[in-house]
């Protein structure tokens, strides 16, 4: 009886240009052919993760267009009369923490009608002044995103303030590249007409599974951004965008 392990593959299904790429594949034999004793048998195994060629071992990641997935398959070959048995399961790869601390990169921001882009009729906008800062745009993936936001004044009542975490997947190949952004988390930090001049905390935990350290390879990129979305009572929607760099410590 044998047990065959490992058939990891990286699928990169994006526009028709990229086919799944296998980055690792190794097989080991767990048990020599023979008979298993009756009852429950546990067979320990281990193997190193050796990459194919000069490929890099990426973290497990499930995106819409980019998927990095590692699976483990166990086959049990049996005699002629019995069917072979197969079982597959996914395992998660976390990369080791990167060396050194990321440089903290605080950002201050001010949002007023004047700072906005792509506004059709600037005159119809109510007056407002929103100030704030993010503690850092270089984020450790296990730590929350933090900062503060102050509504200094606003003519229209505030309806809601939200933090929108967006993931940007970019795929490049011979025919050019494709880029697509998806919202992966939306956190409301203010509900209703908040008190003017009172700092409101910005705080967001990065969701597991949907985030990974920012990834840049020759074939594809996975990047993250956060939008601060202020919704006013007359349905004006104000968005301020901040690119983030995530890493694992």
């Amino acid at each position: 009886m044998t047990e065959k392990a490992k058939k990891p593959s990286r699928s990169n299904r994006f526009s028709h240009c990229c086919l799944p790429i296998q980055i690792i594949n190794s097989t080991i034999e767990m048990v020599k052919p023979g008979k298993l004793p009756s009852g429950k048998t546990e067979i320990p195994f281990e193997f190193p993760l050796h990459m194919k060629g000069n490929k890099v071992l990426y973290e497990t990641y499930h995106g819409v267009f980019v998927n990095i997935q590692y699976t483990l398959r166990c086959d049990m070959r049996r005699s002629l009369l019995a069917k072979d048995l197969t079982k597959t399961c996914e395992f998660i790869v976390h990369s080791l923490s990167q060396k050194g601390k990321p440089m903290p990169s605080p950002v201050d921001f001010t949002i007023t009608p004047e700072t906005l882009q792509n506004v059709k009729e600037r005159a119809s906008l109510p007056k407002f002044l929103i100030r704030g800062h993010l503690s850092s745009t270089n984020c450790i993936i296990t730590q929350p995103l933090t900062g503060e936001l102050v509504v200094e004044n606003a003519d229209a009542a505030v309806k809601s303030i939200e933090l929108q975490l967006v993931r940007v997947e970019t795929c490049g190949c011979a025919e050019g590249y494709a880029r697509d952004a998806t919202e992966i988390q939306n956190i409301q930090i203010a509900d209703g007409d908040v008190c003017r001049g009172l700092p409101i905390p910005i705080y967001m935990v990065f969701p597991r599974l949907f985030t990974c350290p920012t990834l840049e390879t020759t074939n594809f990129k996975v990047e993250f951004e956060v939008n601060i979305v202020v919704l006013l009572h007359d349905d004006h929607l104000i968005t301020e965008n901040f690119p983030l760099k995530l890493c694992r410590m």
Binding site: Q188, A190, G192, D193, C195, P201, Y203
Partner: protein, 975 residues
């Protein structure tokens, strides 16, 4: 063979009485008396009261230990009751359960646990949330229709309306959490308040169900949906109650999660100690815990995210030591994002509540919460809030009162064991803000009463300065009054405070506002001042409440005023000298309330009145009050109610005493009888009282009545005689006849006594088969048997009436017994006959076993006259014939056991009262003995004992014939 034996027995009966054993009662009693042992009072005595010292029941409850904490004063013994009850009597157990410290937790185990956790920093002097919740639910109510929107389905429909920046497809994925059951979108409109509460309770139940059926995700969804309801401020006056209801669910959820994770930490069946450190927690538990936090962190909306995280705050203990102390400040500042000031302040109150429970030592976040609230205080007067109020048609003063429970709670948490300086600082901060009445009120209700009381004059000053249009001023005075009822202000200020406060209170136009204030201040007045001031205050209340019959809407408050007055003034002569007290009572015009108040007063009287009284003021007033109670009784009054009223009136009657003025006393009883004629227990009490009065008279006269006292005693007897027939319970009547007859006899009113006994005899045929005892129908024969035995015992000393035949009463009674329809298969009649034999044998003695002082019984009257004895013998024959007849009818298979018992009973009677030297009687007894054993139904033990007794008796002088008897009595072995 049988028949022949019966015939034999029958032929023997007639000789019984002629040979009644003559007795010398004095010497017999000498012989039989128990050896008297000198009693050492220092020693323990089984009936000596045991002092059970109860070490705090709370501890018991918490530990659930099995060791008994009771200790009795005599160490040699243990009270069997207390040992069975494990030292905690059930009442104190209940009391402990109702102990405010133990919160309303549904599960006992958790209550214990929580208690333990609380104990280090929060003592029993911290008024727990559970005691507030009822108050809030009762106060913040609405008649408007409510709605519950539970978007348990996918959120598609909502997306457009929320207008948030989330794209549709992502939303579906992210808010999977929000789905309760796929596609079920519930929107319940037009709910009344009660419906709403029921719905919430249903949700609470479905949360528990989901949890116990391992649907953790569904449980989380329910909690999220519930906390979402807290962001909805439509029907704003109901918001505080809604908060209470929903946070109950959150508490349940928090507890469930905590217990679940805790149960995962059980290693080798050893559960975690209470002060565990995060290192002891295994990885699976930690991972589960983290999972919960991650899930909650991804809840989109702010308010549910905040509430759910706060609910499981305690779980941080599993992850790290500093977890809670890091979370609290973060959650505190998170609340800043809540725009609606009312929603925000309640969120703060919830955080403080959880904080106090989980980590009471972390005071900073409590303070920060309050300061943050002060910062947002100006919002209340902002446009957003004002617009909302206009839409909902809610006035500002009403709106402001909605804040009170939350601010009160926050301040109470802060003020708990806080240093004086902090309180002063808080007060200063509140002062600085404009329209601080709301805060001032909360300060007064949350801070220590002593603190407030010491600064009463300052507070009065501040209250006066408050803006008229804002928070209702009478509420401020009310709060101040509540503090002053608990703690004393500086002595010099007492009067000034009352004057200042009352000046404002008396000007209140709205009777409801006025009475709410006055109710509180009455206590202060009673506490510090004399009846003059109390009188003034009562007069003022009357003045305010009388126009337009305003008192009709204020009965609870008025009632509470009365209660306070009688708590402080319980000297009733003083109380009734408060002129306005009785006029005040006149305001209670609704009968049910009036009776309630009367009951209170009477309870207080019975509790506090130590000595009996004849003060005409008290008597008049209380008679009036009792009459009010009595007059409320009608056909619909419940039995319990009647019993209670009667008990109160009886308590009053017992307290009335005119000393040696017996005639006045009797006339009082006569008056009472006419006043309270509808309450039987009172009439019974009156009969007993009058009987007692008669005996008292006898005692004073040392048994020798003068002409005057004899007439008085006859009046007493007459009182009883005419009162008894008005009672309905037949046994009460029988016993009272007998009792009164005895009293009459003791007072040498022979013909009256005869009348009583005759009445009793003629009443016996009316005894029903079944009587109601404590609401259950029971056969009456046991009661009748008991009464008849008692009656016969009395009849021994009743002298025969000169104009009636010998033993007129005994014969009469026997006839009645003969004619009474007894239960078919009962031997009661025969038992009574056997007992009659005892009486008859006692009657033949030369000197009776007991006498009534100064009354000649038949022994003296007849002096052993042979005609008299012959009469008795004749009676005996009849009775014995009856007994033997009955024995014969019991010869059937199924009644043999009864036959055996009766035979033995009869045998014992002969043994005790008959003269067994007579051969025939001797033979009869031997026959009875054999009959008792004949069919193997006799109890061998009893037979052996009886035989032993006979043998023992045979050793005594003049009893040698017992030896022969013993020889003639064979013992039948069972085999």
């Amino acid at each position: 063979m049988f028949l022949c034996q019966y015939a034999c027995i029958l032929s023997l009966y007639s000789c019984f009485l002629r040979h009644a054993r003559s007795r010398n009662y004095v010497s017999e009693s000498e012989v039989c008396k128990l050896e008297s042992v000198p009693l050492d009072f220092g020693d323990y005595h089984p009936l000596k009261p045991i002092t059970v010292t109860e070490s705090k029941t709370k501890k018991m409850n918490r530990k659930g230990s099995t060791s008994s904490t009771s200790s009795s004063s005599s160490s040699s013994m243990l009270d069997p009751l207390s040992s069975v009850l494990d030292g905690t009597d059930p009442l104190s157990l209940f009391a402990a359960a109702a102990d405010p410290v133990t919160t309303t937790a549904t599960m006992d185990s958790t209550r214990k646990k929580r208690d333990k956790d609380d104990s280090p920093a929060v003592g029993s002097d911290f008024e727990p949330w559970s005691s507030k919740r009822g108050e809030i639910l009762a106060r913040y109510t609405t008649t408007e229709k409510l709605s519950i929107n539970l978007y348990m389905g996918s959120e598609k429909g909502k997306a457009a309306t929320t207008g948030s920046a989330v794209s549709e497809k992502v939303r579906t994925r992210l808010e999977e959490l929000d789905d309760l059951e796929e596609g079920s979108q519930k929107e319940l409109l037009n709910l009344t308040q009660q419906d709403y509460m029921n719905r919430i309770e249903e949700l609470n139940q479905s949360l528990k169900d989901a949890w116990s059926s391992d649907q953790k995700v569904k449980a989380l969804k329910i909690v999220i949906q519930c906390s979402k309801l807290l962001s909805d401020t439509t029907v704003i006056q109901f918001y505080p109650s809604k908060f209470v209801l929903i946070t109950d669910i959150l508490d349940t959820f928090g507890k469930l999660v905590y217990e679940r994770i805790q149960s995962m930490c059980v290693d080798n069946r050893v559960s975690l100690p209470d002060n565990f450190s995060p290192e002891c927690v295994n990885d699976t538990a930690k991972e589960t815990c983290l999972n919960w936090f991650f899930k909650i962190a991804s809840i989109r909306e702010l308010i549910p995210r905040f509430y759910v995280e706060a609910a499981i705050l305690k779980c941080n203990k599993f992850l790290s030591k500093t977890g809670i102390s890091e979370c609290l400040p973060r959650l505190t500042s998170m609340i800043r994002g809540i725009g609606d000031p009312l929603v925000a302040v309640y969120a703060r109150a919830y955080l403080c509540r959880v904080g106090m429970e989980v980590a009471p030592q972390l005071k900073e976040s409590l303070n920060k919460n309050f300061f943050d609230f002060l910062l947002t205080f100006k919002q209340i007067h902002g446009d957003t809030v004002q617009n909302q109020l206009i839409v909902q048609c809610v006035e500002i003063p009403l709106y402001l009162t909605l804040y009170s429970p939350a601010i009160d709670w926050i301040l109470q948490c802060i003020a708990y064991r806080a240093p004086e300086i902090l309180l002063t600082e808080m007060m200063e901060r509140c002062k600085k803000l404009g329209n601080n009445a709301l805060l001032l009120n909360s300060v007064m209700s949350a801070f220590r009463a002593e603190f407030i009381a010491a600064r009463s004059m300052d507070f009065i000053g501040m209250i006066k300065e408050c803006d008229e249009s804002g928070f209702p001023k009478h509420l401020l005075f009310r709060s101040l009054g509540l503090n002053l009822a608990l703690a004393d202000p500086p002595e010099n200020d007492c009067l000034q405070i009352l004057n200042e406060a009352w000046k404002v209170i008396t000007k209140l136009k709205n009777p409801q506002d006025y009475i709410n204030c006055a109710e509180v201040w009455v206590e202060y007045t009673c506490r510090h001042f004399t009846k003059r001031e109390v009188n003034t205050v009562l007069a003022d209340v009357i003045k305010h409440m009388t126009p337009d019959r305003a008192f009709e809407d204020a009965y609870p408050q008025l009632q509470s005023i009365i209660q306070k007055v009688i708590t402080y003034i319980y000297d009733f002569s003083l109380l009734f000298s408060v002129e306005k007290f009785l006029p005040f009572l006149d305001m209670f015009q609704k009968e049910s309330v009036r009776v309630e108040v009367c009951k209170c007063i009477m309870e207080s009287f019975i509790k506090h009145q130590q000595e009996s009284t004849k003060d005409p003021v008290i008597l008049n007033a209380l008679l009036h009050i009792c009459k009010t109670m009595h007059d409320s009784v009608n056909a619909l009054t419940l039995e319990d109610e009647k019993r209670m009223l009667a008990a109160l009136i009886n308590g009053f009657i017992k307290m009335v005493s005119f000393g040696r003025d017996f005639e006045q006393q009797l006339s009082f009883y006569v008056e009472a009888r006419s006043t309270f004629c509808n309450l039987e227990p009172v009439l019974v009490q009156l009969i007993h009282s009058v009987n007692q009065l008669a005996m008292e008279t006898r005692k004073v006269m040392k048994g020798n009545h003068s002409r005057k006292t004899a007439a008085f005693v006859r009046a007493c007897v007459a009182f009883c005689f005419i009162t008894i027939p008005s009672l309905s319970s037949i046994f009460t009547r029988l016993n009272l006849y007998l009792h009164s007859g005895q009293v009459a006899l003791a007072n040498q009113c022979l013909s009256q006594a005869d009348a009583f006994f005759k009445a009793a005899v003629s009443l016996v045929p009316e005894v029903p088969k079944m009587i109601s005892v404590d609401g259950k129908m029971r056969p009456s024969d046991a009661f009748l048997l008991e009464f008849l035995c008692n009656f016969f015992s009395t009849l021994l000393v009743v002298p025969d009436h000169p104009e009636q035949g010998v033993l007129f009463l005994v014969r009469g009674l026997l006839n009645v017994i003969q004619d009474y329809t007894w239960e078919d298969n009962s031997d009661d009649k025969i038992r009574i006959y056997t007992n009659v034999l005892h009486l008859l044998s006692a009657m033949t003695q030369e000197a009776y076993i007991y006498h009534v002082d100064k009354v000649d019984s038949n022994d003296t009257l007849y002096g052993g006259d042979s005609k008299f004895l012959a009469e008795i013998n004749k009676l005996c024959e009849t009775v014995i014939a009856q007994i033997l007849d009955h024995l014969k009818t019991l010869g059937k298979e199924e009644t043999l056991k009864r036959q055996s018992q009766l035979a033995l009973y009869f045998f014992n009677t002969i043994l005790a009262h008959g003269d067994l030297r007579n051969n025939k009687l001797n033979q009869l007894s031997v026959n009875l003995w054999n009959l008792a054993q004949k069919h193997g139904f006799a109890d061998t033990k009893t037979m052996v004992k009886t035989l032993e007794y006979i043998k023992r008796r045979s050793n005594q002088p003049e009893m040698s014939h017992f030896t022969d008897l013993a020889l003639r009595l064979p013992l039948q072995s069972r085999t």
